[in-house]
């Protein structure tokens, strides 16, 4: 058969293979998650689960070793008055990894580092790989990479896939989180397709992640749902469990609980663990703590009762 490739966009076969997503219907679907009523013991359990899933993040140009130290302290002991789990990880820029390792030592809290020319990814591959390797050498347990959205939109799918594979290799034992930067992919169709593209070269337990937190639209229930459904379909098809990390824009407990409801009702119990689900967030943590104290003490505490984490992510 003659090649008909010239007749269509290189994206088309991928989009056809994974199938479309209806925007109106998926937004309606996720709105139903927000009507779940989570009270009493289930609320406390949900809030603690959310704390254990936080990747406590600081990604600012003005980050210093001192800032990272206070972040690490907060990560290990989120609230002295409350019986809460530690957060899953701290997430910092590559240059801060070595300080984080110094402060955390062999703590259970993992160190995640954004790498590969975060947040744009518009850097030569060679330096991006070096960045990953250096971060791992400095003590990072997890690497948050960005895909080249430009290459994806231009239809250079093989390039995008190969690059993820190369970074995964450079990670060694570190887990990889692939940031799709959903707001730059724009359509739900693209988010679903890019999820499959990434998952096809990921290892069991690696993550796909919504956003860098550096654009105007970050994690939403709808794009989270598109990715959860992609993970579900991929898992049922291949048996490979991929983890998920929505990042940016999840600022309060109510939102976090809604995201967890989506996980519970889409992927089930096996994903309700920090091994398989994370929140990339900073200000979320203090709101979770505030709600937990409210559950314990019956009243809301003033914001200054909680030690400063980082804000703006």
């Amino acid at each position: 058969m003659p090649s008909l490739a010239a007749n269509k966009s290189p994206l088309k076969p991928l989009l056809d293979e994974v199938g479309p997503v209806d925007q109106v219907a998926i937004e309606e679907r996720v709105a139903k998650f927000t009507t779940r009523s989570i009270k009493k013991a289930s609320k406390i359990q949900g809030l603690k689960l959310a704390v254990s899933m936080v990747d406590l993040t600081t990604l600012e140009g003005k980050d210093t070793p001192g800032k990272v130290e206070s972040l690490c302290q907060k990560a290990q002991c989120p609230d002295a008055e409350l019986d809460t789990p530690q957060v899953a990880a701290v997430c910092v820029y590559p240059a801060m990894v070595k300080y984080a390792r110094r402060f955390l030592g062999d703590s259970q809290v993992r160190i995640a580092s954004v790498a590969t020319g975060f947040p744009s990814g518009q850097f030569p591959l060679r330096t991006r790989i070096q960045e990953v390797k250096q971060a791992v050498r400095d003590g990072a347990d997890e690497i948050d990479m960005v895909i080249q959205r430009g290459a994806y939109l231009a239809g250079e799918l093989q390039a995008v896939r190969d690059e993820i594979a190369v970074v995964a290799e450079a990670c060694g034992d570190a887990r990889l989180k692939v940031i799709l930067e959903v707001s730059e992919l724009e359509s739900y169709d693209n988010i679903r397709a890019a999820s499959f593209l990434a998952m096809s070269v990921l290892r069991p337990g690696d993550f796909i992640k919504t956003s860098t937190g550096k654009t105007s639209v970050n994690a939403t229930l709808a794009n989270n749902q598109v990715m959860l459904e992609a993970i579900r379909d991929f898992y049922l098809d291949t048996g490979i469990p991929i983890a998920m990390k929505p990042a940016g824009g999840i600022k309060n407990s109510k939102q976090a609980l809604h995201f967890l409801v989506a996980v519970k009702e889409t992927l089930g119990d096996a994903w309700l663990t920090p091994e398989r689900y994370r929140f990339g967030a900073s200000s979320l943590l203090n709101d979770l703590l505030m709600q937990l104290r409210k559950q314990q003490q019956g009243v809301y505490q003033a914001p200054w009762k909680f030690s400063d984490a980082s804000t703006g992510y």
């Binding site: 997503v21 209806d22 009523s37 379909d233 991929f234 291949t238 490979i240």
Partner: protein, 500 residues
């Protein structure tokens, strides 16, 4: 992409991967606590007053989720129905016929606002009496009922624009009989256009769900409607017959089963009475292989399990294209695993109680016939409450056109799944039914939607969605699903007679 995993990873594939929807993070009970303000015993509402039935007969309204008595409901007899029609006729002659449209509109706006004010109270009463989940009565029935009154309030003084160049007048007194699946909403669909067009009504709710209608009488009284304009009488089929056959009823509007609809058609034949019927359905939800699959699954679930499947326009036949049937059914089964069946008043309940023991028996009987005729039954493994009438969400695979479960309306949470290969086969199968109330089409291709929407014989066709309602959009059927339209401008015309 999913199939292109590297060979090295095959070691992780020990058995078929499955998802576990368990109780790792279980939701605590979240009951809606608003007071439904129920009375132990209700009265008929005739001529602007609450009156005891002259028949002196009462029957019990049962809470389907506990099987316990909720309230005593009067059973209106002949003398009561005569009194109601006489009040309606007087109300029409003395007040309503003389009132300008804008004043009728004022009353309707007032009713709409009062209903909104008390919506939580009414939602709880509706769920207690009928068994539907509170999230549906709260987010669907009540807001939509109020919206119907608001919508038709707006039309009351603009009727000449609804029928330009035509002179039309109201029937006078109309008899209305409504079903038990959406008690208050169907009451709104009936009363709002009737009043807007200048008619007076005698309305009878279904015997298993009379409470919200009789509570609504309080709103009519509070709104200070002139006496006799709205009369609410409760009772069973015999009461309904009295309404249909009453000589003062100039028009009958009925929503309910096709069987009763046919009886009403026979009874009113030759009487000169106007008639609209909104009857049963066996809607096809047609899913093409290019559809957004997960959203289609969600739409199919919503189409059949909404209100426990007690919906005349329920998408009870799934027609799925053969090439995606396997994956689609697998996804349906997965989705059903996370549906929560239980206490209708719990805010997290997805599927509530079956409305009556009688209806539960009917569902069980039809499901048994499906199994007997060789279809494969799949049911959710969810736990059911020990008390009350509940039914598991159910799928039938391998259904053919001749199965009873593909032809008869089950009116319960049971989906019959059929497949098709081509678009013409889909159209043929979808239309191969005595009914024609609604249909759904799922595809990513716009032109296919247009083709299907003209080819399907159904009053309402939803594209890439299901069970969407709006007061401005007419609703009604083809064939044995009845005639006449409710909602929209068309809904006005069915309460007006054209004057030659």
């Amino acid at each position: 992409m999913p199939t292109k995993s590297k060979p090295a990873r095959k070691s992780t594939r020990h058995r078929t991967p499955e998802l576990l929807f368990g109780d790792l993070w279980e939701f605590d009970p979240a009951p809606e606590l608003a007071d439904p303000k129920l009375k132990q015993s209700y009265s008929l509402y005739i001529n602007g007053q609450f009156v005891a039935p002259r028949s002196r007969k009462y029957f019990d309204s049962i809470n389907p989720s506990t099987e316990k008595q909720l309230a005593r409901i009067p059973a209106a007899g002949k003398a009561d129905i005569d009194a109601a029609f006489s009040a309606a006729q007087t109300g029409y002659n003395k007040y309503w016929a003389k009132l300008p449209g804008k004043d009728r509109g004022k009353y309707l706006y007032r009713i709409a606002r009062l209903l909104q004010d008390r919506s939580r109270e009414f939602a709880v009463a509706e769920s207690l009496d009928g068994g539907k989940p509170i999230k549906e009565s709260r987010d669907f029935d009540l807001p939509l009922a109020a919206a119907h009154f608001f919508y038709y309030a707006g039309w009351a003084d603009k009727l000449e624009y609804a029928l330009p160049g035509v002179s039309a007048k109201p029937y006078g007194v109309v008899g209305q009989i409504i079903p038990w699946n959406f008690p208050l909403l169907m009451l709104a669909w009936k009363i709002a256009p009737a009043l807007a067009t200048g008619n007076c009504v005698v309305i009878k709710p279904a015997e298993t769900t009379s409470i919200t209608a009789l509570k609504f009488a309080q709103i009519i009284q509070e709104a200070d409607l002139p006496p006799g304009v709205v009369n609410i009488v409760s009772g069973a089929g015999a009461t309904g017959q009295l309404i249909v056959n009453h000589p003062a009823a100039k028009k009958i509007a009925f929503t309910g089963s096709t069987e009763v609809g046919k009886a009403i058609l026979r009874a009113t034949a030759g009487s000169g009475k106007g008639l609209t019927l909104e009857l049963g359905g066996k809607a096809a939800n047609v899913v093409f292989d290019d559809a957004p699959i997960d959203q289609a699954v969600e739409g199919v679930i919503n189409g059949i399990f909404f209100n426990q499947g007690h919906v005349c326009c329920a998408g009870s036949r799934l027609l799925v294209q053969e090439s995606i049937a396997k994956v689609f059914v697998r996804k349906l089964k997965t989705r059903i695993a996370s549906l929560r069946v239980g206490d209708p008043l719990d805010k997290n309940t997805d599927i509530g109680a079956i409305n009556s023991k009688e209806q539960l028996d009917k569902i069980e009987q039809l499901v048994a016939s499906g199994v007997e005729e060789g279809a494969e039954l799949f049911q959710s493994s969810c736990s059911l409450p020990s008390q009350g009438w509940f039914y598991r969400p159910s799928l039938f695979l391998g259904v053919t056109q001749s199965h009873r479960i593909a032809r008869e309306e089950i009116f319960g949470p049971v989906l019959s799944i059929l497949t098709f290969r081509t678009i013409s086969e889909a159209i043929e199968k979808a239309n191969n039914t005595a009914y024609g109330l609604s249909a759904g089409v799922w595809t990513d291709k716009g032109s296919k939607i247009l083709k299907m929407s003209t080819a399907l014989q159904a009053g309402v066709i939803w594209a890439n969605t299901y069970n969407k309602f709006d007061p401005a959009s007419p609703f009604g059927g083809y064939k044995e699903s009845g005639f006449g339209r409710e909602g929209g401008k068309q809904g006005l015309c069915d309460y007006l007679k054209i004057v030659p």
